[in-house]
Symmetry: C2
Subunit: 155 residues, 2 copies
Amino acid sequence: MAGISAVTIRRARRDDVAAIVAMLADDPLGSARERIEDPLPPSYFRAFEAVEKDPNIQLVVAEAGGTVVGCLQLCILPGLSSQGASRALIEDVRVATHCRGRGIGEQLVQWAVAEARAKGCRLVELLTHNSRVDAQRFYKRLGFAPSHVGMTLRF
Amino acid sequence: MAGISAVTIRRARRDDVAAIVAMLADDPLGSARERIEDPLPPSYFRAFEAVEKDPNIQLVVAEAGGTVVGCLQLCILPGLSSQGASRALIEDVRVATHCRGRGIGEQLVQWAVAEARAKGCRLVELLTHNSRVDAQRFYKRLGFAPSHVGMTLRF
């Protein structure tokens, strides 16, 4: 579906957890990592509580017509480098499959960039899997440079 | 100088800030971003205080013979993905120029990986600039995969 959908971006609530996990799982990489059960494994809710009480982390959702259609997690990280400017890290950006191509991901990322600026960050960073070529094109369009190698170690 | 130096890895203190900033600045990328003045700009100390009071962030130094010869910042980030497992982000890894090649960086990174495991993380991630080919080789040797593109937006 083409065109731009106006969405509301707001802090995620506990009753959004299932919708967020469903989006994380609905993905070639995420499907192997998540466990969609009813009820959801309690580890998801414990993680939600840890996110909620961390003042440097905001997990937000995009809501359209009362339905959660996207999510993003923003971390504001203090550190000494760049004269002590905080850095922002964007993670877990997802848009529900049936809502893609409507500018919802862009609204989420632009919200995060504006929030990072407002918090005094001078750098926003993110890692996107080498296989996510569309995501890389999307972030380049929003001004991000593929300046770094994102290295990971999984246990 | 070859061989392995045994170092002590400990939490950074306020009186380590100047040594850490000197290492951040002693670098082709960092030299343009930092301000080495005496006294240091107060923004560095404000950032240190923000790091110190954040329970999810550990800024550590490697100390050898009473001198700070390396640093690393580790962030433990809760999040819903991977069944609610926290992720670890390694940043600002530096070893003093005259102490390179002695395994100090490896000890710092191995400390961070062990700490991430102990905190229940299932993923350690980091961004390293495309130009830091030696760093990429170093992280690969420690088991990291160049699986992601690290994208950045600077203001």
